[in-house]
């Protein structure tokens, strides 16, 4: 599995923000992939096999929950580390997140430092 991170959000500025937050990982050879909806995300995950996915929950076409469920439960890609992102005030209960197999659950607005440290931890980068 290559050091790839997939960022899935329908909002371009959020994709840009996460990418910018993780910028320093580029020097470590990490490749960034982005997707603007759940369907595209599912395709990329199958094709590129990223180690880490930041997945927005509220998206058109296929929502993050469903993407997560398919990846973890149907495709059984258990090694893909999935961080579910949801807006504050629209928190889903953790149980539902666990049911679909999400590894971590974060709220937006996120703390950039937490996103970066989580990515480093998952990719095994000091």
């Amino acid at each position: 599995m290559e050091n790839k991170i997939l960022i899935v959000d329908d909002e371009a500025h959020i994709r840009m923000l996460i990418e910018q937050t993780l910028e320093e990982l580029e020097d470590e050879g990490v490749e960034f992939l982005t997707a603007e909806n759940g369907e595209i995300a599912l395709e990329i995950i199958q094709k590129e096999n990223p180690k880490l996915v930041f997945l927005d929950v509220m998206m058109p076409k296929m929502n993050g929950m469903e993407v997560c469920r398919r990846v973890k439960k149907e495709l059984e890609l258990k090694d893909v580390f999935i961080v579910l992102l949801t807006a504050k005030g629209q928190e889903l209960d953790r149980q539902r997140g666990q049911e679909v197999g999400a590894d971590v659950y974060m709220t937006k607005p996120f703390d950039p430092e937490i996103i970066l440290s989580k990515a480093k931890e998952v990719l095994g980068i000091e």
């Binding site: 840009m16 910018q20 910028e23 580029e26």
Partner: protein, 559 residues
């Protein structure tokens, strides 16, 4: 500025890079891309390129395209891509900074909602400010409307501020935060001269704390490095200050409300305590309220009542001869005899005030008068017993007045006073005092007489008018003689018409005539002290004459 790495630009798997690779392979000569250190990034290198073209970004060489002259085309293309990447990074960095700021503010608001203590909010604000805007020291100064001075609810970091001087120099501070401005101060000489900040402070930044247009105070941060603060810092500090101001204002309002509610409760309790002395619960209940606290602001309850006061004569002298225990027993046994008399005549005791009793009769004054007469009889009985025990007799004075007793809560929401409009109570108490003056055991006002049904059951002597201290109107004072013991009562009854004649001569300033009649009464009833009182007065006027405008009314200068 974000660093752009050529490796990352050409290393990306995208259409543009695919095109670059395709283009390079189309060239005749080998063409390759190296980074600034000569490390091969893309293409196949040969040892000696014919031409080398630098890739410049902001006057900095970030790599080379090597090959023949055609490599220049590739170099131009890569330079263009690098510029685009740099712009994207710059924008990305800015957005990220904004986002981080937003995150700070978001989290800060969340923290603020978790407390309602103004000091805690101030401290939280300062900690956040110093965390987001690295500083060596910081304080929050707030103007306290209550104390009319500056307070320092929060401080953090090194001791770079002199708090006392800070507090006591609002003038200097007016030049900064309290003027409502926010800025980075470059000239620190005045503040250092005044000793408000330490000499090693090199940078100062502050933001006004305000709600609407009212300035509450300021957050001031100090740093020991030159040019420690940027415009972005100032913007963030202003945002934090504004958020914090609103939170502190709300917290203070909340505190104030709580305090006021508590004060009001205490005031009501205090009023209840105080008023209980003057207005018994029976009275309040007789007005249809359970307790005094049921009486709402603006409520007023009014009723015509007769207020009766009784007081043991020379109690001080009497009590001096007794031990405290004897004293207590004496007063209790006295009250124990009088209490039932009051209650059996439809009255209630408002309060035992040491040796005196205040009672209220809500119905006809006849109840009060009957009670007074029976009380006197009870005292006679008590004195018989005392006589057996070789104790001196007890003398008591009883005074009463009839009028409205208004009880209510006045003032505004914040300040409530129980206005036991106690003019009736006061007047009754003063009339009781007059018993000493006229040397009569039972006096009532003209108002009691006026409201009294069944006047013919009693015998009265009119003692003339008095002007009580602090009053404009004259009040006619009447003595009821029914309470005297049998012998004394008989004598007074027999001299009653003489007494009335004497009083009318006295008021007409026919003092010779009055003197003669009073002397007649005195010879028949030598124990009649009231007659002695008027006899002395008459003699005095005969001797000295009357003052100008004399009407016969007694002016009471003491209570």
């Amino acid at each position: 500025m974000a660093r752009v790495s050529l490796k990352n630009i050409v290393g990306k798997k995208n259409e543009v890079n695919a095109a670059v690779v395709a283009l390079m392979s189309q060239l005749n000569e080998a063409t390759w891309i190296e980074d600034e250190n000569g490390k091969l990034l893309l293409g196949n290198s040969t040892k000696t390129p014919n031409s080398s073209f630098p890739i410049n970004l902001d006057n900095e060489i970030i790599g080379w395209v090597k090959g023949d002259e055609n490599a220049m085309m590739i170099a131009d293309l890569i330079t263009h891509l690098a510029q685009k990447e740099a712009e994207k990074k710059k924008l990305g960095t800015e957005v990220l900074n904004l986002y981080q700021e937003l995150n700070v503010i978001y989290n800060f608001s969340e923290k603020l909602t978790q407390t309602i203590d103004p000091d805690v909010i101030a401290q939280l604000t300062l900690e956040q400010a110093i965390h987001s805007i690295p500083s060596h020291s910081g304080v929050i100064v707030l103007w306290s409307e209550e104390k009319k001075q500056l307070t320092i609810p929060a401080k953090s970091g090194e001791q770079l501020f002199n708090e006392d001087l800070l507090r006591n120099n609002p003038g200097v501070l007016l030049k900064i935060g309290l003027s409502g401005q926010s800025e980075i101060i470059t000239d620190l000489s005045l503040l250092k001269e005044k000793g408000i900040i330490e000499q090693d402070v090199q940078s100062l930044i502050y933001a006004a704390m305000k709600v609407k247009h009212r300035i509450m105070g300021a957050i001031i941060l100090a740093g020991k490095d030159v040019e420690q603060y940027s415009a972005a810092h100032l913007k963030l500090l202003v945002t934090l200050a504004l958020q914090s101001s609103t939170a502190i204002e709300s917290a203070m309002l909340y505190e104030k409300n709580i305090r006021e509610v508590r004060e009001r409760e205490e005031a009501i309790l205090r009023i209840h305590e105080v008023t209980k002395k003057f207005v018994p619960n029976e009275f309040i209940r007789s007005l249809g309220k359970e307790t005094l606290t049921d009486v709402k602001l603006g409520d007023q309850v009014e009723k015509i009542v007769t207020v009766l006061f009784t007081d043991i004569r020379d109690f001080t002298t009497l009590s001096e001869k007794m031990t405290p225990e004897e004293n207590f027993h004496f007063v209790s046994s006295f009250n124990a005899r009088l209490g039932p008399v009051i209650r059996s005549n439809n009255g209630f005791i408002n309060q035992y005030l040491g040796d005196s009793i205040m009672a209220i009769f809500p119905d006809d004054p006849i109840d009060a008068l009957n009670a007074a007469i029976n009380m006197q009889k009870a005292i006679h009985e008590l004195n018989e017993e005392r006589k057996q025990a070789k104790l001196p007799p007890i003398k008591a004075g009883i005074g009463m007045h009839t009028g409205s007793l208004i009880m209510g809560i006045t003032g505004d929401e914040h300040r409530m006073d129980a206005a036991t409009i106690s003019d009736t109570v006061n007047t009754a108490a003063r009339i009781e005092s007059l018993t000493k003056y006229y040397r009569s055991p039972l006096l009532l006002s003209e108002h009691t007489l006026q409201y009294l049904n069944g006047q013919n059951k009693f015998h009265f002597r009119h003692l003339g008018n008095v002007r009580l201290k602090g009053k404009n109107n004259l009040l006619a004072i009447i003595e009821c003689i029914n309470g005297f013991d049998d012998i004394q009562f008989e004598r007074k009854l027999q001299t009653l018409s003489l007494f009335n004649d004497a009083m009318s001569s006295y008021h007409d300033q026919q003092f010779e005539n009055a003197l003669q009649i009073f002397q007649t009464i005195h010879s028949q009833d030598p124990d009649d002290l009231t007659t002695i009182y008027f006899l002395d007065k008459t003699k005095k006027y005969l001797r000295e004459g009357t003052p100008k405008n004399w009407t016969g009314a007694e002016e009471m200068v003491s209570k």
